[in-house]
Assembly symmetry: C3
Homo-oligomer: 437 residues x 3
Amino acid sequence: MFKKILLLALILVPSLALAEDAPPTIASNADAIALVQEHANYLWTLIAAALVFFMQAGFAMVESGFTRAKSAVNIMMKNLMDFSMGSIFFWAIGFGLMFGTTNTGWFGTTDFFLSGWTPDGDPWILAFWMFQCVFAATAATIVSGAVAERVKFNGYLIYSAVLCAFIYPIFGSWAWGSLLNGNGWLEGLGFIDFAGSTVVHSIGGWAALAGAMVLGPRIGKYGPKGEVRAIPGHNIPMAAIGVFILWLGWFGFNPGSTTTADKSIAMIFVNTNLSAAAGAVAAMFTSWFIFKKPDIGMSLNGALAGLVGITAGCANVSPSSSLVIGLISGVLVVLSVMLIDRVHIDDPVGAVSVHGVCGAWGTLAAGLFNMEGVTAKIITTQVIGIGAAFIWSFGCAYILFKLIHLTIGLRISEEEELIGVDIAEHGAHAYNDFVTK
Amino acid sequence: MFKKILLLALILVPSLALAEDAPPTIASNADAIALVQEHANYLWTLIAAALVFFMQAGFAMVESGFTRAKSAVNIMMKNLMDFSMGSIFFWAIGFGLMFGTTNTGWFGTTDFFLSGWTPDGDPWILAFWMFQCVFAATAATIVSGAVAERVKFNGYLIYSAVLCAFIYPIFGSWAWGSLLNGNGWLEGLGFIDFAGSTVVHSIGGWAALAGAMVLGPRIGKYGPKGEVRAIPGHNIPMAAIGVFILWLGWFGFNPGSTTTADKSIAMIFVNTNLSAAAGAVAAMFTSWFIFKKPDIGMSLNGALAGLVGITAGCANVSPSSSLVIGLISGVLVVLSVMLIDRVHIDDPVGAVSVHGVCGAWGTLAAGLFNMEGVTAKIITTQVIGIGAAFIWSFGCAYILFKLIHLTIGLRISEEEELIGVDIAEHGAHAYNDFVTK
Amino acid sequence: MFKKILLLALILVPSLALAEDAPPTIASNADAIALVQEHANYLWTLIAAALVFFMQAGFAMVESGFTRAKSAVNIMMKNLMDFSMGSIFFWAIGFGLMFGTTNTGWFGTTDFFLSGWTPDGDPWILAFWMFQCVFAATAATIVSGAVAERVKFNGYLIYSAVLCAFIYPIFGSWAWGSLLNGNGWLEGLGFIDFAGSTVVHSIGGWAALAGAMVLGPRIGKYGPKGEVRAIPGHNIPMAAIGVFILWLGWFGFNPGSTTTADKSIAMIFVNTNLSAAAGAVAAMFTSWFIFKKPDIGMSLNGALAGLVGITAGCANVSPSSSLVIGLISGVLVVLSVMLIDRVHIDDPVGAVSVHGVCGAWGTLAAGLFNMEGVTAKIITTQVIGIGAAFIWSFGCAYILFKLIHLTIGLRISEEEELIGVDIAEHGAHAYNDFVTK
């Protein structure tokens, strides 16, 4: 009746190079078992990739919700385009630099344009590319929030292409290249960054810092006497739902980094969840203590801080440690947001604090709370990795943003900023039927 | 070329305690097959947990969409925090009470702080915890809607901690404890509640009823002559998307409750979908008949009613029965919402009707439509379970809310309520750039 | 300690008809391997179905975001109900017509009301139904956008029931019937449409064209001298998030169409993503060239165009070809939207261009870029399929909409349209607390 069983036979059999009527043997069974496990690995890696992809929606909502109504169209365009352009540039260039064969340990030189794949070859490279592609785009999109409401759209497109093609993958090759064909110098030292507190989040966060510094603050953000003025977000529920979506996506981001469907993903799920929960709670109480009210923006960023904080160590620290890492992340993000504001760097959504600062903390914590014990060598290596990420990402991004500034211009005009970047750059309002202030 | 195959060998081999070059045997193959199936079970349980987690976003959107703009920040905070605090309290206390070893059948006494897990032990307890944690938080968040727009934030935090630490897990141990180390009295009677129409939804729904009763109605909800006044929601599309998200999450909630990746999940998916669809259609036509227009709020709640209604019986009733269960749920929810309004209990989102009433109906229906036949004993047991849930949850929650009321206070002041709970409790507007009424 | 292992044994053993203590044999191992693979297939098919279900939320958000605030309630109702009614009608009638046994090759005549399933039979039919049900509802919901803001609600309900019960499944049986018990004439010719560029998207798109033509344009859409007036959408971020959700859902739609968890899904994921990315980029640059600004609406529709365009060929074209297919889709959708507007067919969201036109293009491209070579026969067959879909869907839908028009009426009155379909049909505002224009 059902053609399913036939189909199943067709899947299992040719891959194992068995004639259809050859009886199974111990060896053919062992091969078939390995194949079924491989199928599960593909499934998990690709479902996880889909979850990480969905984080793009979360980032778009958080960034848009925490900024003004007059910038919402631009934010959606930036998020759509850093993923779309990012996918294409990571396909053409980035993936090869990150995971191609390398003799130097500094970048790969093969596998551009997915040339490592052939129609009759092993398709694992495609599953792996898909997972890594959504990671690259995550790094790119982190910057979007820090430069929101004032960056020129074409400048942003150039930046996000360069980040996905060069900045992110080159650092990535240092830490993760050996996951495919590479062999990075940082992983050679024993650097622990399981899912990318540094590789993804700090790289994005420090580039965000560079962008915010080169651009300068939004008009009106700091008063004539240097006082900090709040520019409140226009849609808090949207930002909150964005955080829930990011939390969901992190269940792909962290446990998916196994790229295998095995029992180890259970602890990674639990660690991810406990750290996020602890981050939200700690940030809420910290804000409550400082501002006398439990602050929604800080609490939401606290959850994200907890998620970023556990990303490096999610596979090598215990659930209890995850709770502690999350608690510290939640306190840290509040203090960092306040500090960055005090030095007059205008980061509208707190991207530098969440991704840069808590990414660095999480990477350190992955060493400090290592279940198999902590040594001076581990801590040193973690610090080297943290430092290398800062120098590389902040340095490259600073130069890149300055170059864009000096050539096509990085920032919209004052007049355009007052009208809003949506009208200036896209000729559109986000909320046509609503009366806005 | 790819290191995947090596990695695969590393996964399969050590778990099976085989030397790497030992040839496979029939016995080692049988062990490996069981292991691959176990991996699939982990995968499914954890993906399902992620889907159930996402229901938090759905609840936040439904509750916020159905209430006023001046309460949206508070609702996001409550939903973020009942999940975050809930995760931590369920980790510390609730899970042990629910699934720990018990001699009494009334609550467990081991496994607090996930102490049943050791780094070199079986990680199933972590996967299981993750799935159960998102269930506990679902029960907590159900209450949020019924107490919306007037509850004090700190009172709500206390309530949600107590529910996740005590109220929910103790009842849960009666019905589900044996899923791990427990042995509950209610499951001993043969109580059928596969995914928690009673354990999760009625427990949440009856606690919601207690909260709404202790708090009293929102200002202006009932006129001086007792007439019912509609307080319409501020964002219907948000509520609708929330319902779609909840429906999606239920594809984790119900079939995920197998915690095994086998063929039985197919029927559970189909049953879940048919009941939800039937609930939406039935509620729409019922509202059309009563109000002369097809009502959006009722239709959305009808879908949720169908989902709650099939939750108990999703694994032991047929697809056709699911359709009938959903149809009845859809009618029931409309009538219940009207009745609860008529007795002047102000439940802004219909949480008591959706989760309490339809949870009870679904639990009864799981007996009535049991595919293997229905007996007086089954029905009696279902009724005992339904009654026990009401007494336990309504009783505990009523006492708890009264205690909060008598100590730190449960309700914001009249003045605060008129300004809105967002400003009063969090010093924030949800929609800064919009002109609101 | 854990009851998991026991449970596992219970799953594997009875299915294999082994006594619990019978030692494994080579044959029993081979059977167990096939069973574990089958479990993975169920898992993947059902998770993919959940992702495709979630596209309903995406469609609701895109349609609502691109139209006016005064129609948002109605759009949510239409989307909730075309899925809910669609599920029930596809269960009762459509599935049997599409996949039931057929002697003619034109439609099936068995399996109505899921009668092919029995409690002790193979549950694959349930998993397969679930996946096909969400496909049918996708076809239905495509039309919703094209008829938005002016269609009568009861007329829409009738249309969506007929589409899910007859129009979609009958065409589906021609192309896909043999996936279960059927045997369609079009698949017999060798028609390539892996995941439904034609079967789902063009069928929906051409029905949308019929609906838009029978209804006529919204009041004010075309000026007295025939000039085209923009009616801008009311919530661009909502539309954008809807597109992200659709993109996510497509990771179920395309690779899920394997209904097997094997390695082939990797390429389908990559192809889907590259085409979507290329579509967004191409549409952005096309709109930038034509309108001098990068247009958000066109860019979002470009991503959808890329997704629709790759749906037919996702399993038989290479990643590089997918990029090309997506680029062409992105250009095509912009030109098509402009052309359809110029001939005064008012399609508020561009559904005809995205789903009809790019569905046809994608189906042709699946032949043109076929990895195993292209022949005149392949192209001819693809063109036959494209043409058959147009004739069948446009023809049936045109007659159906005309019949509704002539009987109960298809369009709300002019007065109702000016007030808004939300108030007219549902007695509700979407945004009660906001001041709208």
